[in-house]
C-alpha cells in the first residue's frame, strides 16, 4: 500500500472547505433543533391542548423516518408544491426537523426529572411561579438534560454527512468526489476520518466539560 502524502497536501484545502460546509449546516441545523425542541418540550409540559397532539405526531414522524428521506422530500418533493429551497436551506431545515424531536425528548426528560418537592419548597418559600421556574426548576432540568443534549448534538453533526446526497459539498461529498475522480481511496478516507475527528473530538470534550459543570443535580 502506497500512501501519497502529496495528494493529501494538494487536496487538504478541499477538505477544509468541506469541513466548513459541514460545520455551517450542522451549527445552524442544531440551533434550529434546539429552538424546535424547546418549543415542543414547553408545549408538552404545559399540556397545551391540540398543539400537544400535533407535537406528539411530529415527534413520532421525525424519530421514525430517516434523515435522507426527509431531505429528498424537502429538496426534490417540495418544489412540486412550489416551495423551492436551496440545498443549504433544505439541509438546515432537515436537521432541525430531525433533531427537534430528539432535543424535545431530552429537554422534557430533564423537566420531568425535577422532583415535585423542589417546586413545593419554592412555593412554601414564597417564590412566584416564574421565580420557581427560573431559579429552581430550569437550572436542575438543564443539568439533567445536558448529557442527552450533548449526545444529540454529536448525533446531528454525524447525521449531517447525509446532506452530501443533495449535492452539498461537505466533507463526505469531497471524499466521495475524490475517490470517484482519482480512485485515491486511502488518502481521501484518511482525510475524511481526520475531518470528523477534528469536528467531533472538541465537541465531545466540550460536552464532557459542560456535563461536569452542570452536574449538581445528578450527584
Amino acid at each position: 500500500m502506497v500512501f501519497d502524502w502529496s495528494f493529501v497536501a494538494r487536496y487538504a484545502p478541499f477538505f477544509v472547505n468541506g469541513t466548513l460546509m459541514t460545520l455551517f449546516i450542522s451549527v445552524f441545523g442544531i440551533l434550529l433543533a434546539i429552538v424546535v425542541g424547546l418549543a415542543c418540550a414547553g408545549i408538552e409540559i404545559a399540556r397545551v391542548p391540540v398543539l400537544r397532539q400535533i407535537v406528539r405526531i411530529y415527534i413520532e414522524l421525525s424519530r421514525n423516518t430517516p434523515l435522507l428521506v426527509q431531505l429528498y422530500f424537502l429538496y426534490f418533493g417540495l418544489p412540486k408544491l412550489g416551495v423551492v429551497w436551496s440545498a443549504e436551506t433544505c439541509a438546515i431545515v432537515g436537521l432541525g426537523f430531525l433533531g427537534g424531536s430528539y432535543m424535545a425528548e431530552a429537554m422534557r426528560g430533564g423537566l420531568e426529572a425535577v422532583p415535585k418537592v423542589q417546586r413545593e419548597n419554592a412555593y412554601v418559600l414564597g417564590l412566584t411561579p416564574m421565580q420557581s421556574i427560573t431559579h429552581v426548576v430550569m437550572p436542575q432540568a438543564i443539568s439533567t438534560a445536558i448529557p442527552g443534549i450533548v449526545a444529540n448534538v454529536i448525533f446531528l453533526f454525524k447525521e449531517s454527512s447525509v446532506v452530501s446526497a443533495i449535492a452539498l459539498a461537505d466533507v463526505m461529498y469531497m471524499a466521495k468526489d475524490l475517490i470517484g475522480m482519482y480512485y485515491s481511496t486511502y488518502e481521501s478516507l484518511f482525510m475524511l476520518v481526520i475531518a470528523y475527528l477534528v469536528i467531533l473530538l472538541p465537541i465531545s470534550v466540550l460536552g464532557t466539560w459542560l456535563e461536569s459543570r452542570f452536574d449538581y443535580a445528578r450527584r
Binding site: 413520532e60 418533493g77 454527512s161 486511502y186 470528523y196
Partner: protein, 224 residues
C-alpha cells in the same frame, strides 16, 4: 392534487414494496447477526484483560465517532482495495451495520451486566446455585430486562440507517422510488413529491411499531 395518480400506475406500489423488502432484509440480517456479535463484544468488554479492554474501547469509540455514511464508504471503497475483498454494496452495508450494531449492542450488554448488583451473585452463591445456574436463572433474566428496550431502539436506528444504502447504489426502496420518478418524469412531473412521501411513510410504518414496543417494554420494566 395532480400527480398522485402515479401511485395508481400498475406496478408502482408492488415495486416500491419489493424495494422496501430489500431495506427490511438488510436491516433484519444486520440486526440478527448483531445480536450474537454484541453478546460476545459485551462479554469481552467486561473482561479485566487490559489489552482486550483497550481494543474494545478503540473499536467502540471509532464506530461511535464516525458517521455511518463514512463507515459505509470505508467498507465499500476501502475494504476492496485494502484486502482485495470485492464486497458488493449490499455486503458492505450488512457488514457495516453488523459492526455498528455489534459495538452498540455490546456496550448495552456490558452496561446491563455491570448494572446487576453484586449482592445478586452473592445471594445466588449462598443459596447454593452453580455458576451456570446463577447466570442463566438470576443474571440473564435481569440483564435482558435492561437490554431489550434499548436493543429494540437500536433496531429502529438500523432500519432508518439502511436508507443510506441507496448512496452506495443498492437497489432498495429509495432507489426504486428514484427509478419510478425517472421513468415517469414527463407523464407525472410532480410524482417526486408523492413517491418520496410514500417512502417517508413506509419507513414510518416499519419503525413506528418498533418504537412503540421499545417504549412499552421500558414502561413495564422500569418499575422493578
Amino acid at each position: 392534487m395532480q400527480g398522485a395518480e402515479i401511485l395508481l400506475q400498475p406496478g408502482v406500489f408492488p415495486r416500491l414494496l419489493q424495494g422496501l423488502w430489500v431495506t427490511v432484509w438488510i436491516a433484519g440480517v444486520s440486526v440478527g447477526v448483531s445480536i450474537p456479535v454484541g453478546l460476545v463484544v459485551g462479554w469481552l468488554m467486561t473482561l479485566k484483560n487490559p489489552v482486550v479492554r483497550a481494543l474494545m474501547r478503540i473499536y467502540l469509540d471509532f464506530i461511535r465517532i464516525m458517521p455511518q455514511l463514512a463507515l459505509l464508504f470505508l467498507a465499500y471503497y476501502g475494504f476492496a482495495r485494502w484486502f482485495d475483498w470485492n464486497l458488493d454494496a449490499t455486503g458492505a452495508c450488512v457488514l457495516v451495520f453488523i459492526l455498528w450494531g455489534g459495538a452498540e449492542l455490546g456496550d448495552l450488554v456490558r452496561g446491563a451486566l455491570q448494572s446487576i448488583p453484586k449482592v445478586q451473585y452473592e445471594s445466588s452463591y449462598v443459596l447454593g446455585l452453580s455458576p451456570w445456574q446463577t447466570f442463566s436463572r438470576v443474571i440473564l433474566p435481569q440483564a435482558v430486562r435492561r437490554l431489550l428496550p434499548a436493543s429494540v431502539n437500536l433496531a429502529t436506528r438500523i432500519v432508518k440507517t439502511t436508507s443510506l444504502a441507496v448512496l452506495l447504489g443498492v437497489v432498495e426502496v429509495i432507489k426504486v422510488g428514484q427509478q419510478i420518478i425517472d421513468a415517469n418524469r414527463f407523464q407525472y412531473p410532480s410524482g417526486t413529491l408523492w413517491i418520496y412521501g410514500v417512502i417517508f411513510f413506509m419507513y414510518f410504518i416499519v419503525c413506528w411499531p418498533l418504537s412503540i414496543v421499545a417504549r412499552q417494554l421500558e414502561k413495564r420494566w422500569s418499575h422493578d
